[in-house]
Symmetry: C2
Subunit: 293 residues, 2 copies
Amino acid sequence: DQHNALDALSQEGLSEEPVQLERDTAGSGGEAAAIREGKGKNPQRRSSGKKKDGSSIKNRKKKKKGLDVDDDDEEDVEVWGRCSMPGDENDDIDDGEESETERSGGGERQREHPFIVTEPGEVARAKKNGLDYLFHLYEQCHEFLLQVQAVAKDRGDKCPTKVTNLVFRYAKKVGASYINKPKMRHYVHCYALHVLDEEASNALRRAFKERGENVGAWRLACYKPLVAISAAHSFDIDAVFNAHPRLSIWYVPTKLRQLCHLARSSSQPSVAAATVAGSSSGSAHRSLGGSDA
Amino acid sequence: DQHNALDALSQEGLSEEPVQLERDTAGSGGEAAAIREGKGKNPQRRSSGKKKDGSSIKNRKKKKKGLDVDDDDEEDVEVWGRCSMPGDENDDIDDGEESETERSGGGERQREHPFIVTEPGEVARAKKNGLDYLFHLYEQCHEFLLQVQAVAKDRGDKCPTKVTNLVFRYAKKVGASYINKPKMRHYVHCYALHVLDEEASNALRRAFKERGENVGAWRLACYKPLVAISAAHSFDIDAVFNAHPRLSIWYVPTKLRQLCHLARSSSQPSVAAATVAGSSSGSAHRSLGGSDA
DNA sequence: AGAAGGACCAGTGGTCCGTA
DNA sequence: AGAAGGACCAGTGGTCCGTA
């Protein structure tokens, strides 16, 4: 029905058209519009429909609020890379069998193109996304957080300091459907390295690209230099994140924290020994494997 | 079976005996003991048993951790008030019909004595608790938080900055069964006033005691001076809380935040008008009533 | 009636695993 | 095979309301 151009915008170098959602209700309501919840979009959110047993036993009165901005603001996204990227030819990017019209037409359940390891400044081709684009997503989330914070402050609501579910929901609402929580959490530490030591990050990217490694391998390799950086702050990775304004809005990934902790106890055998003897810790030896390895 | 002296300790001026829980396992496990979860205590936590439909469909692997300290440390609680309180007679406090032995004997489901409005330094009698005791509970929570934080840091876990569920659980575990979340949240703003302007807080207590007001009335009266204090920080009550080390560990109560927000929009009619015209807020006019009034 | 707190609920952080 | 993300789950913040 409505031109669901949403998914098409996830394309690198294809977001020419400004995002416009739910234009219809803009300017209609004022206070009411700002507070109203669903607006009819996403009617079946939280549709698990299996855990809860039908009726909600007690109908407590709960005022729900929701953020729900009217996004008249064209979401000044101004295609990423357009400023910093070389090679700006916009057409022959889509060289596969799936044509542009084909994509925006059907309901084929699009996903983002997978990432590949690119050098700084390099544009990914052939249905791939590059790492500059990945990092740009983090900057976008930061902007979304700022907007969410502004609304919260204005309304006197509790103001998030981190990129929370609320921010991801907001991103969806303003049309950034290509941003989602699992993805952003997955690569946070890669972004952290990029922010904390861009030189090292760039070198790692070049090395892994040259070796033909895949994204997963590069991602894993990002842990080590971060642990090294944390060493200068006695392995307190939270302190490292919090000290940097662009990082402080991101939760420290569990595995990174564990690695730093492990490195700390390994680097201080006396402390580790005393700790075990005193039975106050030892948790550094928990498995760090799991599906993330 | 075991002397469940837990509840008895909630008595003001009765906590002579040091808290000792689960002594048996102390010193046995070291690392294992520090990580182990339930230790058999509180077997049926989260016993709602109505919402979830029996089997948990997918048996995902989830490593649960838990804090679970071995509390050999006698929980240096050193009865509150014993230092600052006048009138230290310990015996005729219990002048009701329920005797000391009667209380610790049966399974009568004890609760804390209700609070009454007391002057600073005044000891409550006749099965009542005073406000100095109330405020002392907040200090205790702070100590518990410090301990939880120490353990978390030592284990490399995520470290809470606020009094969270984890802290309340810890309090229970080390025997402070008289601390619970609803109570602490209920009176946070009263404690805030005590911390931010002890003079004003004391004056309010004296006034309300003299007038014979009940605790609920006093509690409600605590909001107003706090809003006034927030005014000096442009009604940013979060900033006020965060600026004070003893307050920053407490979540700002919803109603207090709403009242400050309301006061802000009332104090700046031009801003409020512009805001309504521009349809970006107006939420200040939400109901502040509810069951808290 | 006034008050303490067990227990509930909506929405969170975290990430698994069915999907493509 | 490698990767993106819908959807799930355990435990959170918040506080209602059955209890005493």
